[in-house]
């Protein structure tokens, strides 16, 4: 029961935070120079006052700003994310259309980096000082320090251009008309490069954290006691060390999970992945206010949600932790 009360309390707080975020986003976006009408005029290469006036009237930009905010907030409360006049479609529809691709990408990257990070972290900690530890930590440092876009481009050049093993852009082979298993395989092939690229940074992070945390706990008294009792080494590593060492990794994983919806802008752009990150990036460049606010809203909702889930997972991973109020 305390768990349920905790969750309910956090949800109420979450809603308040979300409304505050939405209001801040609204003003933040308006602070950027230019508006959707001036962008369209710029792109058209020709415009007159009448053209701009027609667009602003259609976009509702001729209304006073507080009226626009009021309309936006009342819509948000009814979960109506508005309408993108630029694209002529409801924002929710645009986001829902892009959501599966993003979830697939960030979800795959999440599982990839968490699994690999924990495994590498344990391996390195078990063989500390040996060459395999050096190799893993050097690799982790390299991918931790290298900019994502460089890895993205290099992987395209190596695996798509030189070796020809993998496609370098897009979600699937366009015009091939694959269905069923063939389609899934095709999407999988397209997924490998972006998911790996996106996952590498967090893999490195998890590896380093897991290794450090393992080493710290390996020196604890209860581990010595277990050894003295004659508990087999594998069991010590699994039950005593890893289980305790994983807590900081869970915290970090919670952070990464929060970014599952909005955090893949760069990867999606470089790999032409039709996800939400690109939708947001393009909406920003085009000052497509409604789409931008919509993506912000969905992403912040996800962060709030995943923070909550992280707290609950703590409890499962370590029953000694009580969920607070």
């Amino acid at each position: 029961m305390p768990l349920l009360r905790f969750i309910a309390g956090r949800l109420v707080k979450g809603v308040i935070v979300l409304i505050a975020i939405a209001t801040m986003n609204f003003f933040l976006i308006r602070a950027a120079p230019g508006d959707p009408a001036s962008v369209l005029a710029g792109e058209a290469g020709a415009a007159d006052e009448e053209f701009l006036r027609q667009l602003r009237e259609q976009f509702g930009l001729d209304q006073p700003i507080m009226t626009q905010l009021w309309i936006y907030l009342t819509d948000i409360i009814t979960l109506d994310l508005g309408f993108s006049y630029r694209q002529g479609r409801p924002v929710l529809e645009l986001i829902m259309e892009r959501l599966p691709a993003t979830l697939l990408l960030t979800g795959a990257a999440f599982i990839f980096s968490l699994t690999l990070g924990i495994i590498f972290g344990i391996l390195a900690a078990r063989r500390v000082g040996k060459w395999s530890d050096t190799a893993i930590t050097t690799g982790a440092l390299f991918f931790y320090a290298t900019p994502l876009f460089w890895i993205a481009l290099m992987s395209q050049i190596i695996f798509a251009l030189w070796l020809g093993w993998l496609p370098n852009t897009g979600f699937r082979t366009i015009g091939a008309g694959y269905t069923g298993l063939r389609h899934a395989l095709d999407v999988g092939m397209h997924l490998i490069l972006p998911a790996t690229t996106l996952g590498l940074f967090f893999t490195a992070l998890y590896t380093r954290m897991m290794r450090a945390s393992m080493l710290e706990i390996a020196g604890s008294d209860f581990v010595k006691t277990a050894r003295a009792k004659g508990v087999p080494e594998g069991r010590i590593v699994r039950r005593h060390i890893a289980r305790n060492a994983i807590l900081p990794v869970v915290t970090l994983a919670g952070l990464q999970a929060g970014q599952i919806v909005g955090g893949a802008v760069l990867t999606e752009t470089v790999f032409g992945w039709p996800g939400i990150g690109r939708l947001m990036f393009e909406a920003l460049a085009q000052r497509d206010y409604q789409v931008l606010l919509g993506v912000f809203f969905v992403s912040s909702a996800m962060v709030v949600l995943f923070n909550l889930i992280t707290d609950v997972v703590y409890r499962v991973a370590d029953p000694r932790i009580e969920v607070g109020r």
Binding site: P33, G42, A46, V270, G272, R287
Partner: protein, 528 residues
């Protein structure tokens, strides 16, 4: 066949000769080759357009894709000679006031409805008059009436002679809009905007947001056997380096102009079966310059502006920044369009002369802000090269960066000192050139008006007179206006730009008209 026409033009007109100088590699051509049916073509277009409804949106990518869905009354040869499209013939009265267009019969909209004179009247007189930022001023100022004079005949009567109207009937300026879908509706809210209906060789199939637009062959197209290509995919790949890799790996067949970084072109051109052309932009002839806010400071002084013109090395910019693409510009009117004068003084690259002129001006070392045009890497490099040129002669420059919306906003509200800009010329000075220099167009709100704030009564008068003058009187008037502008330099003309298209040489008759990058697939076919 179309190749032959180009060949003749090459032999006969100096204009076409100049155009061909920009063509880097012509496709290996067997002039007698018989077009083949079938095939799929994938093109990279960037950025993803907001809409494909060409009447409402005129963005470059919208035109590139929708230019094959919609059609207008005419098409144009690469030397801007009108050719039949939806109008199969036309007559111009001797007083140059009455234009009669005979429409092609048996043309169907993509939904099966017949195309008639009513659609033309609706498009020109109602729909586009209300919404199109380039057709609206022309029709309101120049046209007395647009009348249906038969089921397949339309007569346009002008107030005064206005020769440039014959260049207005390309698909980007006056796309034919289906009356049965739009009449009486709120145009911008019409749900059919999502599934455009035209008469063109390609039909809209699907738009997968963030990925591609899919078009297919219009089975009922009125030209027997055309179009030749079955399927076309326009793909949206946001990153320029990834686009180049996708072309190299064979994922896409065409990098359209503007979607390939200019410094990648020489490398791609080296590869097998890769062709590069700069054709298909003749109607637009993008003219790049440095816009100067001539309202105040040293920039208001003619001698200072002339000094900058001598200080900037335009040959270097063309050869290095633009990888050899383009022609150095010496006049407000592009040498690739009509009425360009070759009899004008030129500003040679001469830093010593520039220093002399600066000494005569009131400039004393203040920093001038240069707003970098946010259209990609090449423009940033160009701004850096320009700064270096100007610093060499003692002008201090500060580069200011922003994004596209910020740039439009600042330039459109005259909140800048210097910036790069490039404008389409639209074939005739009255359509694409005068707008930048006449004082009546010093209006806020868009970066393509006379944002410089340049005002000269003589220039205003000459442009107004030339627009409505009889054909034979126009060259002299434009000669005079070019002389004044070249002396006064409201902007610093830099380069007549090329946007090379990179494509597989299997594509034949790929670009055949003055807007060839937009109306590609009526003629194009794939060598199999």
């Amino acid at each position: 066949m179309i190749q032959k026409k180009t060949g003749r033009a090459l032999a006969t007109t100096a204009l076409a000769l100049l155009l061909s100088a920009g063509v880097v590699a012509m496709q290996p051509q067997d002039a007698k080759a018989e077009p083949q049916r079938g095939g799929t073509v994938q093109l990279a277009v960037t950025p993803e357009p907001p809409s494909l409804m060409l009447g409402l949106f005129q963005n470059g990518p919208t035109q590139m894709i929708a230019g094959d869905i919609y059609e207008s009354l005419l098409r144009y040869d690469t030397d801007l000679t009108p050719q039949p499209s939806l109008a199969e013939s036309w007559e111009i009265s001797d007083d140059q006031l009455v234009y009669t267009f005979k429409l092609r019969e048996g043309v169907l909209w993509h939904d099966g409805e017949p195309f008639t004179a009513d659609d033309v009247i609706f498009s020109l007189d109602v729909f586009l008059r209300e919404v199109h930022p380039r057709w609206r001023p022309t029709v309101n100022a120049q046209v007395a009436s647009i009348e249906k004079t038969g089921d397949y005949e339309v007569t346009i009567t002008l107030n005064e002679p206005f020769e440039p109207i014959m260049l207005s009937f390309e698909v980007g300026t006056t796309p034919m809009i289906p009356r049965h879908i739009y009449e009486g509706t709120d145009y911008r809210a019409n749900p059919m905007n999502a599934t455009p209906i035209g008469t063109g060789p390609m039909k809209f199939v699907e738009w997968d947001s963030g990925s591609y637009v899919h078009l297919e062959r219009n089975e009922d197209y009125y030209l027997e056997g055309r179009p030749y290509i079955d399927e076309v995919y326009y793909r949206f790949i946001p990153d320029a380096a990834s686009r180049a890799v996708a072309f190299e790996t064979g994922t896409i067949d065409v990098l359209t102009g503007g979607s390939v970084e200019i410094f990648d072109v020489p490398r791609l051109e080296q590869q097998d079966n890769v062709c590069v052309t700069t054709a298909g932009w003749e109607m637009f002839s993008p003219h790049a310059w440095v816009a100067l806010n001539v309202r105040e400071g040293a920039l208001a002084e003619k001698s200072f502006r002339q000094a900058m013109m001598h200080a900037i090395d335009r040959d270097f910019a063309r050869d290095v920044v633009w990888s050899g693409f383009g022609t150095v510009a010496n006049s407000p009117i592009s040498s690739r369009t009509l009425f360009h004068s070759t009899d004008l003084p030129e500003y040679a690259f001469d830093p010593d002369r520039a220093r002399e002129l600066i000494a005569e001006s009131s400039y004393d070392g203040e920093t001038i802000d240069f707003l970098v045009l946010p259209y990609g890497e090449t423009w940033t490099r160009w701004a850096e090269a320009t700064r270096q040129n100007l610093e060499d002669v003692g002008i201090n420059m500060n580069l200011v960066t922003t994004d596209v919306a910020g740039w439009s906003e600042r330039v459109g509200s005259f909140n800048f000192q210097m910036t790069h800009n490039f404008l389409y010329q639209y074939g005739d000075p009255a359509l694409g050139v005068s707008r930048s220099y006449v004082s009546s167009n010093i209006v806020q709100g868009n970066p393509f008006s006379n944002v410089m704030g340049y005002a000269n009564e003589e220039v205003d008068r000459l442009f107004a007179e030339a627009a409505n003058a009889a054909s034979e009187d126009r060259p002299a008037l434009y000669q005079r206006v070019q002389e004044i502008l070249v002396d006064e330099l409201p902007v610093l003309w830099m380069i007549e730009m090329d946007f090379p298209t990179v494509y597989r040489c299997d594509l034949q008759d790929f670009i055949t008209t003055a807007i060839g990058v937009n109306d590609t697939f009526r003629d194009a076919w794939l060598q199999q």
